[in-house]
């Protein structure tokens, strides 16, 4: 879905070194999200869903955790090839060098602000490297699917949900 090895090689030495690291990280095979990946995805969702999430606080944290759960189950529904590519992307982003070099985020994910994460997402979105554009698109789609797939998000957009009581 996101990163093919060949494309990665095109991004140069830094890319291939990082890929080797993430390949090592993913060598364990099929897995659930690590704590580091959950933290990273929560930080990303915290920016992607700004405006949809409630203000900073306990409720926001709980909803972010639910969204990360939703991302995990969305990833599990992808083809094995796409799951592997998503795994490589997540594996890169949780490593400090990957976070620094690819995302340009200088502090651990849990400390990154909405503005810092938004800058990184915007840079991938408008990147000239199709690798980063597709990575942005995957994070965009997974996060919004996880968020708007849940019925408790529908009030805010005035969607009444599917018809009830007919069946």
């Amino acid at each position: 879905m996101i990163v093919s090895r060949r494309q990665f090689l095109k991004t140069g030495l830094a890319g291939s070194v990082l890929l080797a690291l993430s390949g090592w990280l993913n060598a364990a095979g099929a897995r659930s999200l690590s704590d580091g990946e959950r933290e990273m995805l929560a930080a990303l969702a915290n920016a992607i869903l700004e405006g949809a999430l409630p203000p900073e606080g306990e409720r926001r944290h709980r909803l972010l955790a639910l969204t990360v759960d939703g991302i995990a189950s969305a990833v599990a529904g992808l083809s094995l090839a796409a799951q592997k590519e998503v795994g490589e992307l997540f594996g890169l982003l949780v490593l400090a060098p990957g976070r620094l070099m690819l995302a340009g985020v200088g502090k651990p994910w849990r400390e990154a602000s909405v503005a810092e994460v938004s800058d990184f997402l915007q840079s991938w979105r408008s990147s000239r490297l199709s690798l980063l554009q597709t990575a942005y698109a995957a994070l965009h789609d997974l996060t919004f699917a996880a968020w708007y797939g849940r019925s408790d998000t529908w009030d805010a957009i005035d969607y009444p949900g599917p018809p009830r009581g007919y069946f």
């Binding site: 879905m1 996101i2 920016a47 992607i48 869903l49 700004e50 405006g51 949809a52 939703g70 189950s73 969305a74 599990a76 529904g77 992808l78 083809s79 094995l80 090839a81 796409a82 909405v114 938004s118 997402l121 979105r125 408008s126 199709s130 554009q133 597709t134 698109a137 995957a138 965009h140 789609d141 996060t143 919004f144 699917a145 968020w147 708007y148 797939g149 849940r150 019925s151 998000t153 529908w154 805010a156 957009i157 005035d158 969607y159 599917p162 018809p163 007919y166 069946f167």
Partner: protein
């Protein structure tokens, strides 16, 4: 609500969920049909009616009305290929394809069009398909229209479709209403998640139950891996069972031996099966010329509620822009109106953060119009190519070239003009850098300058066609006009992969009609009976 599938199973239909197999199997049949969508369903019906023993092989699950709860979070992973996020090799096109019993007919939006006469004319000229014409096919279309209740839809369009009707009328663009294959439709608007009221006359509710009533066997969660052949005859189909998740192989295998083999896995699945099997392909045509009707989308904020999730999804269309130039000239496009549901809309909508949230808060006022670009006719529109990845699974490489983008720009302009004519307050093409426009004048200027490139402009597809194209000779096609493979005598292809170009219309009825004809010819041959008298 009665569930006819549950009733059929209770009455003794032969259904094997391969994820539950505790050991491998070898099965014998007269004909094995690979895939249960538009092509496989019609084939199984006609062959079983001729008294042949049919085995159906489906990679997806058997789901039915009592499972169809109209929730995207359940429906996409259960009923679609790759949870509705299948993509082309460069990830620039998202492909929506069903993967369940009934295939895409279980989740389509019910639009029913015959293959246009000018498409048959083009196939005759370019591919020598002289047996196929609008006249010769009309009886087959009529048979399937009757069988599947494809009728005029008399209910007024929902507010979403009305935007296209009103805008078109204001601009003097002829507008038509779309025939739908429904019987007693409740006008709910959730066709894409499986019909919860059994109104949609999909393969799931029509041809497949008919075949099962006649003793056909249906395997689900079973992936067709490879055809075995000796000389010019296929001898067996090797299949791998999947786990209940529908993704991981379970380790169990099923082999089906048969007199005849029908590939009906759709225009990605069928070429991939033939490629994996290494069938003869001396002219290197297999998997080539795969077409998508690439779709670009224009969304609009309307002054009043649209509630685009409610009511029959796709009921109004215009072919005006298909007829502005020769069929092999600059790409024409068909305009239709898709339903909007929260996941479908939010994932397709560009941007993130507050900008995205602001548009989502206007969800109930949004109208979207889509343009299906008619690919495969212009000499430079050669479509894509299905290849295999290192695991033998299909990858579709579809380069988006200048010919496509030129058409896409005209389409975005046409849709915006129609939306403003219908009263839109704001129009935003689905594109990463389009800011949205408050007036037609500004949209006209903005869209003219918009950079149209892969991954910037959102492109989707729900119509995969080609890859095993028909022609008169093996130099320019994989199969003949009957869908018979040129090199393997007992192999037929019965699905949208036969089309040598795209169609310019939603494909279900084109597949039903052609396959009804070809399955009837095949049944006559296999049973030693005279061929049907329909021309």
């Amino acid at each position: 609500m009665q569930d006819p599938i549950k009733s059929g199973l209770a009455a003794g239909w032969k259904h094997v969920d391969a994820s539950t197999l505790s050991r491998g199997q070898t099965v014998d049949a007269d004909v094995v049909v690979i895939g249960t969508g538009a092509g496989g369903g019609v084939t199984a019906d006609i062959l079983s009616d001729a008294g042949l023993r049919v085995v159906l092989v489906e990679e997806g699950p058997l789901r039915s009305s009592s499972d169809f709860r109209m929730r995207e979070a359940d429906a996409y992973p259960e009923l679609y290929q790759e949870s509705a996020s299948r993509k082309t090799a460069d990830k620039a096109i998202n492909i929506y394809q069903g993967r369940c019993v009934g295939g895409s007919t279980t989740v389509n939006w019910t639009s029913s069009f015959r293959t246009p006469p000018e498409v048959f004319d083009f196939w005759q000229r370019q591919f020598g398909l002289r047996q196929l014409s609008a006249d010769a096919m009309s009886s087959w279309f009529a048979v399937m229209e009757h069988k599947l209740w494809m009728r005029r839809w008399e209910t007024p369009p929902n507010a979403n479709n009305k935007v296209l009707a009103v805008g078109g009328e204001k601009l003097g663009i002829p507008i038509g209403s779309i025939r739908r294959n429904v019987k007693g439709c409740w006008n709910l608007g959730y066709c894409g998640m499986g019909c919860p009221t059994n109104a949609k006359q999909s393969m799931l509710l029509t041809t497949i139950p008919a075949a099962l009533n006649r003793g056909a066997t249906l395997y689900t969660r079973l992936r067709a891996e490879r055809l075995r052949f000796a000389g010019s005859r296929v001898t067996a189909l090797d299949c791998v069972a999947l786990q209940a998740d529908g993704i991981h192989p379970s380790g169990k295998r099923v082999q089906v031996r048969a007199r005849h083999f029908v590939a009906a896995g759709g225009a990605i699945g069928s070429p991939a099966l033939l490629l994996r099997s290494g069938v003869p392909d001396p002219h290197r045509l297999l998997g080539k010329r795969t077409f998508l009707h690439p779709v670009v989308i224009s969304s609009a904020l309307m002054p009043d509620r649209v509630d685009a999730y409610a009511g029959a999804p796709q009921t109004i269309y215009t072919d005006h822009f298909l007829h502005q130039a020769a069929i092999d000239g600059p790409l024409g496009f068909k305009l239709e109106v898709p339903p909007l549901h929260p996941v479908l809309f939010s994932t397709t909508l560009q941007g993130f953060g507050e900008a995205h949230a602001r548009l989502m808060r206007e969800f109930t006022r949004v109208n979207s119009v889509l343009a299906l670009l008619r690919d495969g006719f212009h000499p430079e529109s050669r479509g894509g190519e299905v290849r295999l990845d290192s695991n033998g699974l299909p990858v579709l490489d579809y380069p988006l070239g200048d010919v496509i983008w030129e058409g896409a720009r005209r389409a975005l302009l046409a849709m915006a003009e129609i939306q403003f004519a219908a009263g839109a307050r704001w129009v935003f093409p689905v594109h990463e850098t389009a800011p949205g426009y408050p007036s037609w004048a500004e949209a006209k200027k903005g869209i003219a300058e918009l950079p149209l490139k892969p991954l910037l402009c959102r492109v989707v597809s729900a119509h995969v066609m080609g890859g095993c194209g028909m022609a008169d000779t093996p130099q320019r096609g994989v199969a003949d006009h009957r869908g018979r493979h040129f090199w393997l005598a007992n192999l037929s292809i019965h699905d949208g992969s036969l089309f040598p170009t795209s169609l310019g219309v939603n494909p279900q009825l084109s597949i039903y009609g052609l396959v009804a004809r070809n399955a009837s010819l095949l049944a006559a041959e296999l049973c030693g009976r005279p061929v049907p008298q329909i021309p």
